[in-house]
Symmetry: C2
């Protein structure tokens, strides 16, 4: 590892530690909410994770000249709550039916299906409470559009519908755009909006977020195919067994690797207008060169 790589690493690790503290801080106390609900919310949030979406928000905010205040951290926690909400619901038996997530039993395995539905709901609502508290309604709208019926949720619908079907690469790309890239894009734009970025740079962050999300999801599909259950903390080969539409499945592993590299390149290229782009660049590396 070069000196620069080591410094970037340290920086992201420090950011991630702050994000983890904030994620715990904003959870409801068991004293003011029913304890199984509070426990289920805490369980899903503290189970780990790369915290990539709040990191994207942080890096975009910094690149746009933002100085993190408490409202900023509320938004950073909110985007991870939104991501976790989607994982908890996607893991349900009536959806992907997964029993392992981040190396632990999924929420419905641990707390029952009803509580998993409600814990997911409560995380989404908490996210919007925190986004409202930032006082920036544009960020509320941005995140709602990112995860809503034209964004992440549409992607999950497409994912379910494609199960067991012969699906074109174009269809997989459309699913990925909704399922994954929409929230990455929302995080990149949200960081910019919170820093009051100008329209031109907001557009650059839009491209960055979309391309980063695209690269991330292609690599995710490749890892499911080639990765290791223990290292990933979720079952390898699950997509294949379930007949899921995947990027390598609809093209080839070689094509998938090439397209992930190309998306990563496009994400990096979008950043030329930003002087302080070290963290944004480091996240591209993190999204593509990972083993979990």
């Amino acid at each position: 590892m070069s000196m620069i790589e080591a410094e970037r690493q340290l920086d992201l690790d420090a950011l991630r530690a702050t994000i983890n503290r904030k994620l715990e801080h904003y959870l409801p106390e068991p004293s003011c909410t029913p304890s199984p609900l509070a426990e289920a919310m805490r369980y899903t949030i503290t189970a780990g994770g790369k915290r990539l979406r709040p990191l994207v928000l942080c890096a975009a905010h910094r690149a746009s000249g933002g100085i993190p205040d408490e409202n900023f951290w509320r938004a950073a926690a909110a985007v991870e709550y939104l991501h976790t909400f989607s994982l908890v619901h996607d893991d349900l038996p009536c959806m992907d039916d997964d029993d392992l997530r981040r190396g632990l039993p999924t929420a419905h395995k641990k707390f029952g299906e009803g509580m998993a539905v409600l814990a997911g709901d409560a995380l989404a609502v908490l996210a919007f409470e925190l986004l409202g508290e930032t006082g920036n309604c544009d960020v509320v709208i941005e995140m709602a559009q990112a995860i809503g019926a034209r964004g992440m949720i549409a992607g999950q619908v497409g994912d379910l519908a494609a199960e067991g079907c012969e699906v074109s690469l174009a269809a997989v790309q459309q699913i990925h755009r909704c399922k994954t890239a929409a929230l990455f894009r929302g995080c990149a734009r949200g960081g910019g909006l919170l820093a009051g970025v100008d329209d031109q740079r907001l557009e650059a962050l839009t491209v960055y977020g979309e391309q980063l999300g695209t690269a991330f999801q292609i690599v995710d599909d490749l890892l499911d195919l080639e990765g290791d259950t223990e290292q990933m903390g979720k079952r390898a080969g699950a997509d294949l067994r379930r007949g899921k539409a995947t990027y390598p499945g609809a093209s080839s592993p070689d094509r998938a690797r090439a397209d992930a590299r190309e998306a990563a390149r496009a994400a990096r290229q979008a950043l030329e207008a930003f002087e302080d782009r070290v963290a944004l660049l480091a996240l591209v590396d993190l999204a593509v060169a990972r083993e979990a």
Copy 2:
């Protein structure tokens, strides 16, 4: 029916017709969201309902001197989307397991469980998108708190936990406060906030909403005990069969009727500071003197 009653009725009917138009208007077009998702969202929203929560928002807004603009209607639609989101998830097999709602098959019966979870999610997210679009972050926060882990969702957790248990009247009252009164309170306060009401009147609307919600839920429990499946559009006696904690069950039907009347009286009394309180008063009558 007296002249005044007839006029009130007409007024609420006209309001309800506008609300129904707006509820359809803000739904996603099948052209820009996967069609089964758009269809499931539309199905649950157009299945009918008294639209009591948006009516409370409207009446509180009017009493506070507000003039309805498009942002106001966005909020009115949002609170009904939030209510419907909760019904769709509560009806799921892993929760209340209901197969009939508003005289029609429940969402999961019609579209499958996975789609019902996602349609509920999408309605909640759409609600927060519209609330964000009002440009009033206080209303975003208000509604998130009303339905979140200390509000409506906490009530549903309490409801599930109390199934088949011997439950005190105090415990039932606490469940009702969260499950139902929190959103009514949020609607009353939300209407006031959107009209820029002063603190004293906001406090009066808080009491009104809580008491109205309390009266409404006690009557709901009585109707489940004594009502008619066809008239209600959901199965009568379902609470009893499922061993649910109900107000008459934890006290007696007579006590329940007396407490509903007392809550209605308290709701009316809270309105003394408002000159234009006709609609708010009419909603109290509607909440207690109903057969469905």
